[in-house]
Symmetry: C3
Subunit: 317 residues, 3 copies
């Protein structure tokens, strides 16, 4: 994968996803060390090029880069529309001319990371673009399920919430299917994208049916401002029908886990109780996210020949 | 102190404060070296979690962390009320899940660092919360007095300004008393907290009386916007009565020093002349602040057994 | 140059500029290495003190500092007028008390870096002040021309655009003249400073005449908001007369190069075609800018005696 871009899950084969998850497992161990740092990317520069505010994801990538001993440079700027496409590309070209080893891009318009990747030589990692894709989120979710369940193949996953406008849903559907899981979605009709069944995804109008016998329940964050746009009559009604509490969770398998990309609207998507306690694994997702992003930065931005990713501690940093 | 939180001065015994000041003295020497860096916290991650803008204090902690070879990650976010307590705690839990070794918290609401510390395993260092506490400011003030006077025990300290709304005053009263100094305060009645005398602090309605024979005069920064709220009729009158110039300073001991946490409102709390020259020690406080925060980060976020804080230069970084 | 300030090109002799360009040539090689880092400024702290937003220049200095193994601290603050001079100086003094090894200053008011340099002991590098000076931009432009043409002495350079309000123009006029080049300017009369001919610069009212036989065409960025102020009737007319396209470029020498400090207003100063392709060297300027700033930080903030700037890779970082 060295030198390639990571724009969406479809860029990856099943085997490559396997390699990423395996590498993340090694990276996970680094965080448990006294010195949480490996020299893997020493002398490399990673630029976080964020056109959309996101302290959580940016911080996850920043910590991941630093634990690999890379220099991480945060470049945040605002730009709201594709009408400024040229200026976005010029910014990207300028960053590229400073010779970074990877550029992590987030933008609120779908397709911007791809357009940037088309003009840059350096690997571009998509950290979320509009409602299109968020591949490292899907990979960290796969990694979390793999660690919890020991496998992904053969599991059943229900994704609940605003599927139509969610890059998290889109990337997770692609990721879980590619790894052999069955994916279902549950949402009000206005939040289910047209033609979702053509993806091999079964859509359910209620949580209870969708959860029947599933191993994993993935709740999406609701954009509260969408309710003004009448995708659903009220938050209260949404929560009663599509929010998850322990009672509804009983429809899933006894050992089902609950996931959420965060931040949770407590009492809306998840009951307070479920937001904080097993079987929800929300903070594990965050923790695994750092390890997963270490793996992605390492595998895509490349390593010098003959150097292993995890040669002991960072004796040199 | 390894693994503990530092939320307010009362968390510390007199002996522990002594250890912190002694360690800061060693850290002070690091800044004088050609290579101003020790490997003490190599491979550790320190997160500056600032809910209130503060470039000065954040920069002091950032430089302190970097001189200890830690990776410092700045996470700034805005949040103005306790009604968002859950979201603040979720942010803190998310940061915690990224496995930092210390979290430095500032918030404009008193008590937030404590609430965060209650849910995190990692040491939380309070970098200022509302009008409650600012323990590292008090410690750096103690450190500065110790360096200037060779002792704290037995000295007399006058704190002048808006005592009622100042976390700096509150932490310094606790700190200087604990180390054996006598503390007096001087302020207009609206700026003196009810019951201050129960703390063993004598309150004076004028600077002249308060300064009589003191070793240290600590001027507080006036929040100019409070005057709109009528705590005091006018800035001009406040300055005439509670501002310090060389004339009023004559009431103090001949060798008295003048302190201020910065930034100074020149011509209000301090005359221009006193803002810039001895016996004021304002820039020494800033310089000592970096060393003191190095000591705090080192002592609270822990070190691997058998490693000394100051083993030569950072050969490894 | 160790320990000196770099405020404008006039601070430097021709020989010193030669040394800077030569050092930049070595630094340029670092970016081509697998490990793009030298240990030159290990344990040093560089503060980017930016009173004016500038992610591009700040990022260039940040990457330059990190490739020298320095700790780089970004301190951004807003301040719009000289009426706050005291508070600017107090901020600078506060930063200075934290013992940095260099302070990089940008401010939208001319002269602020000089005033800061007057009160600080540490080297101050001017990263752009009002319409006064931008010495590292001029140096990176000299460096780029030197690399393209093999020399500067004897070349002819045309600078086109709002000369009167451009710190880039001012510093480049000084720099190219000092290195033996002939400098011409072309702009509408309202954009040519009074007395420019006294500097030995010939002013032309049209691009075609100015370009006749030149080796280098340097286009300036137009501040589009100035058109509201009627320096020129319309953007369209400005572009027709003073914008550069391949047709007008034919007046220059066949091997002439085109420069621009970025970001380009495409279709205004430069045709889209010229913005993207040779003979424009805009991205080379960016790339060379990192190397040039490495050279400046190294030469001005000093090195320990006996240590060479480029002793192999950063074995220690």
């Amino acid at each position: 994968m060295i030198g390639r871009d990571l724009l969406c899950i479809d860029d990856l084969t099943r085997e490559e996803i396997g390699t990423i998850l395996e590498t993340a497992e090694h990276m996970r161990e680094v965080a448990a060390r006294d010195v949480k740092k490996v020299p893997t990317l020493r002398g490399r520069t990673i630029v976080n090029l964020f056109f959309e505010a996101s302290t959580r994801t940016a911080t996850s990538f920043e910590i991941a880069g630093k634990r690999l001993s890379a220099d991480v440079v945060n470049f945040s700027t605002r730009s709201s529309s594709l009408s400024k496409a040229e200026s976005i590309l010029d910014t990207a070209r300028t960053i590229d001319a400073m010779d970074p080893d990877a550029v992590v891009v987030r933008h609120n318009v779908a397709g911007v990371p791809k357009r940037i990747a088309d003009v840059l030589e350096v690997p571009v990692i998509n950290a979320g673009d509009g409602a299109h894709a968020h591949p490292t989120q899907a990979l960290l979710d796969l990694f979390t399920v793999q660690k919890e369940k020991g496998r992904i193949d053969g599991l059943t996953v229900a994704i609940v919430g605003d599927i139509a406008h969610s890059r998290v849903a889109r990337s997770n559907i692609a990721g879980f299917q590619k790894m052999g899981a069955e994916v279902r979605v549950a949402a009000p009709p206005t939040m289910i994208p047209a033609g979702v069944e053509a993806l091999g995804v079964k859509a359910y109008p209620s949580v209870r049916e969708a959860l029947d016998g599933v191993d994993v329940v993935m709740m999406l964050r609701i954009q509260l401002e969408r309710f003004a746009g009448a995708l659903f009559p009220s938050i209260r009604e949404y929560s009663a029908t599509f929010g998850l509490d322990r009672e509804k969770l009983r429809y899933a398998r006894d050992d089902a886990i609950v996931m959420h990309p965060g931040p949770v609207n407590r009492g809306v998507e998840l009951s307070h109780d479920l937001a904080d306690r097993r079987p929800s694994v929300i903070l594990d997702q965050v923790r695994n996210g750092v390890a997963l992003r270490m793996a992605v930065l390492y595998l895509f931005s490349g390593r010098p020949p003959g150097q292993s990713a995890l040669d002991g501690n960072s004796g040199g940093d």
